[in-house]
Structures are given as structure tokens and as C-alpha cells.
């Protein structure tokens, strides 16, 4: 028996060592850095205690960044979770044919890298020569400066991410929808149940575990995807209008070289993510039906 336990330790070793080395050790270093003031080149670090955190809380910057982050999450949840959820229901259960075509066609943008997508949309949304501006001026509208107005810029960046990630989430959800037994749906059809009732009473409960997974990756990975377009298109501007909790860590760390504040932001971000995951486990998991 004990031999077997040793074996399992051995099997777990590569994963655990990689995690310790590349996730938990940097995390500890991050905590340590957040109590110091350092600029990445100076040979000495100054211990400043909680000063980084106090600055962060008193500057008012945090509130703005939190609001931006929440707006990002709202846009991402709409585009990458609710919309694919509804469309995957239609693709899986409301079509007679061509569902394979829609699945593949909608998935194709997921293969494009986010850097390419950012540059592509920078050109499409160009307020002078971009194609969208030409279409808008043809119907007598003036193109707003998409990346220069706070609020709007977040929605646009969220839509760029959405354009890329949408297809992947759709495939995941379609796979879950296809697993719903056909008999249930046929029975509901014989009872003349409306589409909405069918969706609400049969599909949502039967696919809730996949849906929860997609929801979590939308929120958790979505903000990390945001880093690439924000860095390429706006650098957090205008007036920090498009920055968020993930990008601000990068900016303080590798643009302003204030590792202390960057680490403090990273810790705050991590705590908020932890809070989200606790809420997810305590509240949402109870409402989800796992098959086994």
C-alpha cells in the first residue's frame, strides 16, 4: 500500500514541481516585493511596509480600475457567454441541417491570434480611412474615435476579444447541448412547449455544468486576454479609461518600473479572483447539476 502512495507522489511530481516553481514561488516573491520599494535595477530594495497598499487604496485609481474591470467583465459575459449560450441552443436543437457549417464558420476567428486581431480591428475601426467609417459616413453618421473615448473603448476592446473567443465557447456549449437527450426535447415538442420554456426548463438545467465552466473561463481568462489588445491599441488610455486590474499590474511593473505598487495591485487582483472563485464554489456550484 505504501509503495503505491510513493508511486503516486512520483507521478504527481512533474506537475507539482512545475506549479511550485512557476506559480507559487513567484507568488511568494510577489508578496515580498509588495512590501518593498524597488525599481528593478537598483541594487538595494527599501522596505516600506504597507505603504504600497495604502497608496493604492488612497489614490482613487483603484476605484476607476475596478469599475473598468467590472465593465470589461459585463461586456465579456454578454459576448462570450450569454450570446454563445443562446446561439448554441439554436445550432444544436432548432436547425434541420447545416449546423456543422455554422459551427465551423463561427469557430474560424478563434484560430487568429489576438495580436493579429488587434491590428486588424485597429485598421477596420480607423476613424479616417477604415471601412467601418466609410460605411457609417455613407449612411450619414460620423464615426466616433473608438479608442479615444473612455467607456466606448472598453466596449470595443471587449468586442474584439469577443470576436476571437466567441467561437471557442460556442463549440464547448454546442457539445454540451448535443448531449441533452433527444427524447426530452421531443416530449417537450409534443406538449407544444415554447422555445423559451424549452430553453429555460430543459436545456439550462441539463447543460449547467458546462455553462458554469464557460462562465468561469470567460471571467477569469477574459481579463487576461484583454492585456494584449490594451497593450497594442491604447496602453491603458485615454486617461486610464481602458486599463484594468491585469493591465495595471503589467504597466506598473514593466512600464513604470515600480515593482512595489505592481505587486500590491497583483495581490489585490488575486484576492478579488479568490473571492470570485469562493462565491462560485459556495453559491453557483450548489445550483449546478453535475452528472456524476
Amino acid at each position: 500500500m505504501s509503495r503505491f502512495t510513493w508511486q503516486s507522489v512520483l507521478f504527481l511530481a512533474p506537475a507539482v514541481i512545475t506549479l511550485l516553481l512557476f506559480a507559487y514561488w513567484p507568488l511568494l516573491q510577489d508578496v515580498w516585493l509588495s512590501f518593498h520599494s524597488w525599481n528593478m535595477v537598483s541594487p538595494t530594495m527599501k522596505f516600506v511596509g504597507l505603504q504600497n497598499y495604502l497608496q493604492l487604496l488612497s489614490s482613487g485609481e483603484l476605484i476607476k480600475i475596478l469599475l473598468n474591470t467590472i465593465l470589461y467583465i459585463l461586456v465579456l459575459v454578454c459576448v462570450n457567454f450569454i450570446l454563445p449560450y443562446l446561439l448554441s441552443f439554436i445550432i444544436a436543437h432548432r436547425l434541420n441541417r447545416f449546423s456543422f457549417f455554422y459551427r465551423s464558420a463561427l469557430f474560424i476567428p478563434s484560430t487568429v491570434s489576438l495580436a493579429v486581431a488587434s491590428i486588424l480591428f485597429l485598421w477596420i475601426l480607423n476613424p479616417l480611412a477604415g471601412p467601418l467609417n466609410i460605411i457609417l459616413s455613407a449612411i450619414g453618421l460620423e464615426s466616433p474615435r473608438w479608442f479615444k473615448e473612455s467607456g466606448l473603448v472598453i466596449i470595443i476592446i471587449g468586442l474584439i476579444i469577443g470576436w476571437k473567443v466567441f467561437g471557442y465557447n460556442l463549440i464547448l456549449l454546442v457539445a454540451a447541448m448535443v448531449d441533452v437527450p433527444k427524447e426530452l426535447i421531443e416530449a417537450a415538442r409534443l406538449e407544444n412547449v415554447s422555445n423559451w420554456q424549452l430553453f429555460r426548463r430543459i436545456i439550462v438545467p441539463m447543460t449547467s455544468s458546462t455553462a458554469l465552466y464557460v462562465f468561469v473561463i470567460t471571467v477569469v481568462f477574459g481579463l487576461q486576454y484583454v492585456l494584449v489588445p490594451v497593450n497594442m491599441l491604447t496602453q491603458g488610455g485615454p486617461d486610464q479609461g481602458s486599463t484594468n486590474l491585469v493591465y495595471i499590474v503589467y504597466q506598473y511593473g514593466f512600464v513604470f518600473f515600480q515593482t512595489g505598487k505592481a505587486s500590491a495591485f497583483a495581490i489585490v487582483t488575486m484576492l478579488l479572483y479568490a473571492l470570485f472563485l469562493i462565491v462560485k464554489t459556495k453559491v453557483l456550484d450548489k445550483k449546478v447539476h453535475y452528472e456524476n
Binding site: 507521478f11 447545416f98 476567428p109 477596420i124 480611412a129
Partner: protein, 106 residues
Amino acid sequence: MKINSYRDWYWHILLLFAVVIQLWPLFFMLSTSFKTMDQIFLSTLNPLPAKPVLDNYLYVLKNLPLVQYIVNTLLIASSITLAKIITSILAGFAFVYADCQQYHSC
């Protein structure tokens, strides 16, 4: 009455709309890659370039170390895939087949 057929043309319209939104930027990128500089600015919306040219592709092939880029990409992608598969297969095997009765949490 055929049970298996739905009236679905309105869903097709909705889905085709989504497909156009998803694919048009890619198509735009593709058609722009065959245009000359003044065509890009003069006929931005025209999907088919008046005189398709390969200049852009030739420029990329001549002036950028494209082979090097592709090799780099392959190296990164394959090493990540290999590392992920090895660590997760071993760990997954341990989780499933290790004797978990005595430890409640695994």
C-alpha cells in the same frame, strides 16, 4: 407529420448574420493582402481587388526571416504541448489510480 423537421428559416437568417460578422474581418484581411497601397485607400470596401497583386506576399517573403518565425512558432507550440501532456497525464493518472480512500481530499 414529420416530427424531425422544424421551421427554421428565421434561425438561418440570424446565424448567417453572425457568420458574416465573424468572417468578414478575415475576408477583409485576405482581400487587402492582394491590394496595392493606393487600392487599399481608394477602394477599401471593394472585396475584390481590381488588379490582384502578390507584392505584399513577396515583400514578406523577401524581407522577413519567415522561415525562422515559423520554426520558432513550431518549437514553442510543440514544447508547450509536450510539457503539458506529460505533466497532466502523469498527474491525472495519479489522481485516478492512487489509493484515495485514506485521504479524504484527493
